[in-house]
Symmetry: C2
Subunit: 372 residues, 2 copies
Amino acid sequence: MGLPLTPLAARLPSSVPFVGPEAQERAAGRPFRARLGANESAFGPSHHAIDAMARAAGEVWRYGDPEAFALRAAIAAHHGVAVERVAVGEGIDGLLQVVARLFVGEGTPVVSSAGAYPTFNYHVAGFGGRLVLVPYRDDREDLAALVEAAGRERAALVYVANPDNPMGTWHDAAAVEAAVAALPEATVLCLDEAYGEFAPEGTLPAATLEHPRLVRLRTFSKAYGMAGARIGYAITTREVARAFNKVRNHFGVNRIAQEGALASLGDAGHLARVRAEVEAAKARIAAVALGHGLAPLASATNFVTLDVGADGATARALVAALAARGVFVRMPFVPPQDRCIRVTAAPAEMLDVFEAELGPSLDHVRAARAAA
Amino acid sequence: MGLPLTPLAARLPSSVPFVGPEAQERAAGRPFRARLGANESAFGPSHHAIDAMARAAGEVWRYGDPEAFALRAAIAAHHGVAVERVAVGEGIDGLLQVVARLFVGEGTPVVSSAGAYPTFNYHVAGFGGRLVLVPYRDDREDLAALVEAAGRERAALVYVANPDNPMGTWHDAAAVEAAVAALPEATVLCLDEAYGEFAPEGTLPAATLEHPRLVRLRTFSKAYGMAGARIGYAITTREVARAFNKVRNHFGVNRIAQEGALASLGDAGHLARVRAEVEAAKARIAAVALGHGLAPLASATNFVTLDVGADGATARALVAALAARGVFVRMPFVPPQDRCIRVTAAPAEMLDVFEAELGPSLDHVRAARAAA
């Protein structure tokens, strides 16, 4: 006999939704000079958060509070919702796993967009779900088509990211609220708002919006600059938040992360500064790209998606050429979005490297294409 | 329609394997004076680890390496095993979830001991497994009976903790190796060695021991003093380690925790000091207990299990009486082990509190029993 894997585990691939930049660095034998591929915030966390985490390091012999009570209370106050509606987890990836586990079993229909967040798909497949993928429309997630597909397929779950990753596009709050109101009666909407803090006023529905089958996900990984801390939260109904306790890893959230997140929430000034820095960096990325004939998409996130103006192979070659020159970027996985690359807003030193290397990288790609 | 929970999720209780001491502190309106209930190491992490974590706080805007490559390489070198045999996860709790998910589906038989680690049972139930529980024998896990039950039930998974929690007892390496050699052909052995660093020489089989269905779990939560960091590892076969990649949360391990664990591994002096402090603390706990007529069990861990010499209700009353006096301890859940309470080794100031409060707590319990 071999290993007694479950039938589902036996047929799953041994996969990685994203290869980390560290693996590329090990293969290349040198670090990237500009880390612009994972939509991390190189502007860093609040100094209050850094101080709180450094202090917490000496107290890390204690398990973190499994109820993350102080943090949940602060999140609830921050958004003006009841604390019982807030669940904390190991980043949005960890929360997506909990959501998939609650609602997805063998053969359960689940709807997402073709080319949306691969880690959601990974978790759905990991619990045996059947993914139904809806094309983007004009580089935006197609809310009406997603809701329609969810009804047609009697999907247990539909995934929407607003603002969207990897395209950076968005819908306004009214459009999201209309999708929520139109949700089929058998479907939970998983609304990933990882980039919500970067979006223009009027993009996010009010935090107090309540619907029996709505789960909204937020994170400290992006605007708060704490990707490595693995901490995020859900705002949902009391009933769904209670259901998280059926399957979550109760002691899973790092104590240092809880302290850092709590301090972050209290530093509105830092958040405002990061937003301003991100806007300036995005403008610079767009200008550099335009100077080389690449069209930037309007973005409500901390990255700019650049239309390379050719096919997926060309964009992939550009990502590789940039990597060879020390610039880590990523790109959408699925046509037609894979004509683009995606560049994260970052401090000037990193964008200097991007600016210096984009031209030579494009030259390399165009020369290779011409020779082929 | 209500929520479209899976049938399994619908029937799971909304539970918590352990209520955290913070919840008790909130209810009491004051902090515990002695935190001796969760087998944390109040001796703290290595100063090298604290420094590494404090430094990493400013770098936490980066996701951690999803392959935890540097740490896995260091663990592999530390134990003299191939790096491909090492998997890193969010503490043993997180690794247990992965193991359960790979091997346990609806109705899968799983064997453990009656009163062993509840979080293992939580994960097994969470994937629909059918738990078969084997009694302890003389306050030790009964290796022969566990293996026999695994064969009889055709169990996919059998759980053994060596040293054991909550009793602190242990088997020597030869006995564990005999159990491994006798494993039924359909069964994976999940060998939890969370307390392995505290055990006497000759307790742990060589790290190089390899069996196609053996998964050994280790952690930085106990002897390394990093419970709040949520980081542990598995040593297993290449095949099982690869299978972890089918379902694990690839970016789930905190970057600060990875840095702290790496620094911890390099500080053998700290580990030796902690072991010596733990031995001294255990001797003191045993002496204090004996002075009050409670019998300490021999322990290969960082806690001492004390036989209160009466029934479970009496031990529960003693836990409550100690809590009312500011002392957090826990106790085994299941008879006959629930005649005991469990006290974690800790620095002198905390044991001073324990020593001062044990007598009055016992008086309170005995008075209440006499009055009843």
